[in-house]
């Protein structure tokens, strides 16, 4: 039996390493993911960042973090993590730094870096077995540049570079990449998806990663009020709907064995999730695009049918 520090939300560590006051948007799901992640990891951390929303956490001369930070470049945060990890190891082995100076090395990027421009660097770091954490805050777009399409943008989402038009009423017609599966194909010891709305599951997964040597890869859906188009106060509500509609499954893979960690008893219709966000408004107004909504729902049903068969899950799909 594995033991966990985290049984209820009351077990959330009190210590905050990401302190209030920074230039990020109100209601940023990504920032909340970083804050929770940090609470579980504790203080001895160096964050290695790629270009994205989180880059703005650290605007000279201020820092909201009580830990170390390095901004690298858009494409190569995992390589930055490699250099730091290797340097800490070689300096410790040569006795040039004390063991108490060891740090957890954590890459933090958005989906643009994780799914697109930084995928090669990530792939290589995982294949080398680098002992690091990767936290992707997935707002399903190039959010920091104003919400352009990334290869994480779901089918049917509007974006600034896939605006719905009369000729193309769908918005983005591409398929969101399965980063969980891409990462998993590299055989890392631990991969997990996260939602800040499911805090206990979130904390347990980070905790689990802390007991594993090697690459520990996490992707957190990051509700984005300005990009997705909803009121900042509703971030947790939107993420909760992502869980309840099954569009963002909560799962983990320990040494390649995939398991859903929290499963909704009965899926709510995905339209309830879509309807909360301006990026999907064109699927409802001026006329409902039933085919597009059905395609999204069918995708979710197919996913959960396969998962239920594989893991013997009890889950009621949407008719």
């Amino acid at each position: 039996m594995s033991t966990t520090r985290f049984r209820t939300l009351k077990d959330l560590p009190a210590e905050d390493y990401l302190t209030p006051g920074n230039p990020l948007c109100a209601g940023c799901g990504g920032m909340l993911a970083v804050r929770l992640f940090h609470k579980v990891l504790g203080g001895n951390v160096v964050w290695v960042n790629a270009a994205g929303c989180m880059t703005l956490l650290m605007t000279y001369p201020l820092s909201p973090l009580k830990s170390n930070w390095l901004y690298t470049a858009f494409a190569s945060a995992p390589a930055g993590a490699q250099g730091i990890r290797d340097a800490l190891d070689v300096l410790a082995s040569k006795g040039k730094i004390s063991p108490t100076e060891d740090l957890k090395v954590v890459v933090v990027t958005g989906d643009g870096a994780a799914y697109d421009i930084g995928l090669q660097s990530t792939s290589a770091a995982v294949s080398r077995g680098l002992d690091f954490y990767y936290l992707c805050y997935d707002n399903e777009s190039y959010g920091n540049t104003g919400f352009q399409m990334s290869s994480s943008t779901p089918y049917g989402s509007a974006s600034k570079t896939t605006p719905p038009t009369e000729a193309n009423p769908i918005g983005n017609t591409g398929t969101k990449k399965e980063i969980f599966e891409i990462w998993l194909a590299h055989k890392p010891p631990y991969v997990a998806t996260l939602l800040t709305s499911q805090g206990v599951d979130f904390m347990r997964k980070v905790e689990k990663g802390m007991n594993v040597r090697g690459p520990k890869l996490f992707t957190a859906l990051a509700a984005c009020p300005p990009g997705w188009g909803f009121d900042p106060k509703d971030s947790i509500h939107v993420e909760k709907l992502a869980f309840e509609t099954g569009i963002w499954p909560l799962k983990e893979a320990v040494k390649g064995a995939v398991k859903h960690t929290v499963v909704p008893r009965a899926l709510r219709p995905v339209r309830e999730y879509l309807a909360t966000q301006q990026r999907y408004a064109h699927l409802f107004h001026p006329a409902e695009n039933a085919a597009a909504i059905e395609k999204i729902q069918d995708g979710i049903n197919a996913y959960w049918k396969a998962a239920a068969d594989r893991e013997s899950l009890q889950i009621a799909l949407v008719d």
Binding site: Y60, A73, A124
Partner: protein, 411 residues
């Protein structure tokens, strides 16, 4: 005891890293650099070098890891060439902005397209504005010495900038020469352990590479980097004196050759300089007042030293083994700018371009530069756009190839 070895330029670069007792070597292979990382891999694996070596997935990743390891406190060595240098170019600006004093050996190779293997300096000169110190080597001996001097300068707190040591692919990388290897214990006294500035720390966390949103802050840091780079000139002179005391070899920012009484001067750098020396000897034997000025330090550009050496001469040719299409040679305007405010500047400063893609350079061609200098000096002008070296038989060979390729051959 100094140990004499027969080493290639690549072997000398690897020995530089070994003698500098580097902690970390991130790597990615590219011709003609590979022998450097293969040699170091072997040493690390057989225990003769106490360092960690990791092969990355690209030069961009390699340089990112190099910079981040340096910020953590490791002395870092890495090497690349050509396309690789350009693939990682973004990170060169970051590494210098981080003030991470790594040493990067570039084995010069001309740039695609068309893709090729042999050297010219368009690769390393594309990095001229990155903030890296640049030291260019003529011989294999210089390669090992400049790597050691490179660390000393880069890590000096008056500079604290990364350094590139350049050597020519093929002509130096694969050519064996006698190299006197400095003794490890003496190197240790010349090059004290690297002391990082505010490394990442559990005790005292730091933020590096923070975003700067205001132009005044950005400008301040960039001006500061420029001032630090300029200080590398005096630091080189200072540490070179120390190096000479220990090892008997001195390396200034420029190296004059037969400059006493020289009226016609050829300015050049890197391995072809050896040919330039020979031509100057030949011309001197025939009574021509020829001289040569080798540029060793390209960044910071040693403008004062260049002006001091070239003022009062009749005519100067600047040999660029590189080409900036639409402008000309890359070093030429820097030499001209260095001379502009000298009252007795040479009447003629002539641009010459040659050796692109490793194109052979004959002594006769080098001599023709001096012929043209004397003609231009008499006429008081340089025939625009200067000289582009190519021999008749080379031109004919290219034309034959164009016929073979099925193309139209221009007249």
């Amino acid at each position: 005891m100094t140990e004499a070895k027969l080493l290639t330029g690549n072997g000398a670069a690897a020995w530089g890293a070994r003698l500098a007792a580097v902690d970390y070597v991130p790597a990615f292979p590219i011709t003609p650099q590979t022998e450097i990382i293969e040699t170091i891999s072997k040493w690390v694996r057989d225990g003769s070098m106490d360092a960690k070596m990791v092969q990355l997935d690209s030069e961009h990743s390699m340089l990112t890891a190099a910079g981040s390891a340096s910020l953590t406190g490791a002395r870092v060595f890495t090497a690349t060439s050509s396309q690789g240098l350009l693939y990682g170019l973004e990170m060169l600006y970051n590494i210098s902005g981080w003030r991470a004093p790594i040493v990067l050996v570039n084995v010069s190779r001309a740039l695609a397209a068309p893709i090729t293997l042999e050297p010219d300096h368009n690769d390393v000169l594309a990095a001229r504005d990155t903030g890296f110190i640049q030291l260019h080597a003529e011989t294999c001996q210089e390669v090992v010495d400049l790597v050691l001097l490179g660390y000393r300068i880069a890590e000096d707190m008056r500079v604290r900038l990364p350094a590139i040591v350049n050597l020519d692919g093929f002509f130096l990388s694969f050519t064996r020469e006698r190299v006197d290897l400095p003794e490890a214990d003496k190197v240790a006294s010349f090059l004290p352990p690297y002391r990082p500035t505010n490394p990442f720390s559990a005790e005292r966390p730091v933020a590096k590479g923070s975003a700067v949103m205001e132009g005044d802050t950005y400008s301040y840091f960039r001006y500061h980097m420029h001032a630090s780079s300029l200080r590398a000139l005096d630091v080189l002179k200072e540490v070179s004196r120390e190096y000479e005391k220990l090892f008997g070899r001195a390396y200034g920012p420029v190296e004059p050759y037969m400059m006493d009484g020289a009226e016609y001067v050829l300015v050049m750098s890197n391995s072809f300089t050896t040919l330039g020396r020979k031509v100057v000897d030949d011309l001197r034997a025939r009574g021509v007042a020829a001289g040569l000025l080798k540029l060793r330090m390209i960044r910071p550009f040693p403008a004062d030293e260049v002006a001091a050496q070239l003022k009062g001469r009749r005519a100067v040719a600047v040999f660029d083994q590189d080409i900036a299409p639409g402008s000309g040679g890359i070093i030429y305007p820097e030499v001209v700018a260095a001379l502009y405010h000298e009252a007795d500047r040479p009447k003629v400063v002539m641009p010459v371009i040659g050796g692109l893609g490793g194109k052979r350079l004959t002594l006769k061609e080098l001599e023709s530069i001096f012929d043209e200098l004397r003609r231009a000096e008499k006429g008081g002008t340089v025939r625009p756009p200067g000289m582009f070296l190519m021999r008749q038989e080379e031109l004919e060979r290219v034309r034959t190839e164009m016929v073979t390729a099925g193309g139209d051959v221009p007249a």
